[in-house]
Subunit: 480 residues, 2 copies
Amino acid sequence: MTTIEFLKPNANITARRSAIIEGLFNLLPADCVISDERELVPFETDAFTAYRRLPLAVVLPYTTEQVADVLKYCSTNKIPVVPRGAGTSLAGGAIPQEDAVVIGVSRMTRMLDVDYDNRTTTVEAGVTNLSISDAVSEDGFFYAPDPSSQLACTIGGNIGMNSGGAHCLKYGVTTNNLLGVKLVMFDGTIVDIGGKALDAPGYDLLGLLCGSEGQLGIVTEATVRLIVKPEGARPVLFGFDDAEIAGACVTDIIGSGIIPVAIEFMDKPAIDICESFAGAGYPMDVEALLIIEVEGSDEEMDAMLKKIIRIAQKHNVKNIKESQSATEAAQIWKGRKSAFGATGRIADYICMDGTVPLGKLSYVLRETYKIIERYGLRVANVFHAGDGNMHPLILHNANDPKEAQAAEDAGMDILRLCVDAGGCLTGEHGVGIEKRDLMLHQFDEVDLNQQMRVRAAFDPDWILNPSKVFPLDIEQRKVS
Amino acid sequence: MTTIEFLKPNANITARRSAIIEGLFNLLPADCVISDERELVPFETDAFTAYRRLPLAVVLPYTTEQVADVLKYCSTNKIPVVPRGAGTSLAGGAIPQEDAVVIGVSRMTRMLDVDYDNRTTTVEAGVTNLSISDAVSEDGFFYAPDPSSQLACTIGGNIGMNSGGAHCLKYGVTTNNLLGVKLVMFDGTIVDIGGKALDAPGYDLLGLLCGSEGQLGIVTEATVRLIVKPEGARPVLFGFDDAEIAGACVTDIIGSGIIPVAIEFMDKPAIDICESFAGAGYPMDVEALLIIEVEGSDEEMDAMLKKIIRIAQKHNVKNIKESQSATEAAQIWKGRKSAFGATGRIADYICMDGTVPLGKLSYVLRETYKIIERYGLRVANVFHAGDGNMHPLILHNANDPKEAQAAEDAGMDILRLCVDAGGCLTGEHGVGIEKRDLMLHQFDEVDLNQQMRVRAAFDPDWILNPSKVFPLDIEQRKVS
């Protein structure tokens, strides 16, 4: 058994690390603890990839009680903890920034309850996003939030980042589809928040957890809303001669009160990249493309589409193409959802994630192109236009340090532009490491202090996913 | 000027009260401070009415800065503060429970911005709920949450209680329609949270404020979502021979994925009361009535209605009546919205507010009738069935102390029933004074301690709306 001395934060580092690992092996079955350096490598970064650090150890528990045991141990001994879903964060949310124990939920993959009367399912945190929809699909249901990484990402990670996706325009993001969680707090206390009923008395702790990036506790189970699959769904392609005009068309559609399931935007470079990868049948003679999906019965789809086409015509739409079959519809979405992967084949890129008020969509697009031009770079824009959630992919050569720096600087300029237009730093990827320094562009210190007071109310010793979300020098104050 | 001595919490009470009032007159224009006992009477209770206490003083500021000055003064001198909108709380949320200064927002009634491109409006906290819709109605917009008190209640109060209404089934409650606020914190600090864009980085403090019952700060401005009015709307009456079967029909409609704008439920006593008051044209030969409203184009309404009728027929619906004109539609809603007032004409009543998972609607209705019978009372049920948000009105004679006590006990039994069925203590009225002791039936002490830690992160001295929401003996711990 480990001695207290070795576990003190200021003990000899190597001895302390060994003692911690021994302590973890005492708590969990041997197959739940990873401490071998080679085996730790997959956990040193996430999809952000700009930063790497080997964790002190990784634990992969099977049960909530095991998660609680580890958290109790870590908080008693002031050991930083990093929660991890599938490691698909694009903002560095799952990277161990300090000498930390990673708690991964990848083995907690049971579906505990499916309740069609209440249209809910309760799953463990390691269940992947898509597998929920897969499990209920035959019975006519699905889970709405659909990040592009949905094949891999977990519901636990989705809650941490308040994940969205293309179809969130109609159905909302994670926070709108989450009804309850089992949460392990910093000291191992297990609490249940929410349940199958709508609303709850007291403060909205459930909403607070969504997007809290693992800093308020570790979710081990979640009860989420199931949605009934529509009778039919039809993605329709709208081609325009001008990106800004396509943006104005989106503003006009939403401003008219029409809420399709999805309005996705692609500019010319994005169309070229996705079409050559997926052969989706996108028009190649346009400067911008909107993929607008309507759903419901044939009459409902026709009625909504008629209104959308009328607005698109006012904006000089060049061509309109309805998918004629399920295969065509799948191709259209395959093209859109492979945008990031397809871009990665032709160049290095960084993907920004800012959200702007819909009335500013055209303005922000125009200014984005100006910023990119100023840095001498190229950009492909492919994003959730109906939500105002922009995703410029800034292309560059990562092996040229000057160009890599230019891409990063341009990205930060674009995010500042989004904030200055009345928008915000992130739509769905979170703050993580990537944007923590920009938080002072969005908030002032008074705001951030209040956010940190809320955090301290959940994690008084600041052991949960430290060095994320807040600028480092401000986090150092560790308010309580 | 007041002396420090008089303002100490343990100073002579009369002297301290005079000193506080003098201090408030020094801070604000004379017409903003009420200290005369007769003029304080309107502020001694709210629509809960079960408890009365004259406040120490009432201030009615015109500006955010004045609210900030008063909060700074009160927090410096440890004076309890009770925020007040229009005083329509049904749970005692606006009653001064301690010797407190009431800060009313009734004079902050400016509409600061209307932005149709972004479908938002920014208003001061004292603007009434209905006046938002009135102001934008001619341009084709409305504000969705519609509590029955919408003619009087303020947007500030709506945020404090996370208010709902009949049409929230489709459009969500306050938290789903709020985009940003200006918040004055306990010490007078003014912060802006959220804005016109969807989502925001960092913790979801905006969601946390919704339903926090004035304990985290005072909202002075709010930016809310505007919705485009549908082409048409049609309430349809569905009569049933059995209340439980009507409940099962609601479960089935929602379980099928159909989300009308509203599904309201009335049992026989409620139908009788509302029909005799409003002459709404309700069928009198049924045991239960559903008012189901569909909206959209004629084709859209027809399509949805067809599906709903098919389900209702499976549940042996007895009669179906569509409103044939705008006048008829208005009558139908007038009957529903006057339910509380109409009930008050024939008997004293207390209105419960519990929410249950939809699959439990029939079960909870059946058990509710059993509880009422056990206490020898009568009940009228009229509620937002699509949300599972029940409102049994327990009829009794308030002048008979035994019967009044029985009504209160029956109400508490019904709320416990809701919680035990997997539901919760409140759908939209809040906890306030009424349900604070029941919070321990919903939560355990660990949960409540965590909620109190969050509160302490906003109000470390516990001056904001004290003695509400938490059981008194637990609140006394004043965790920090």
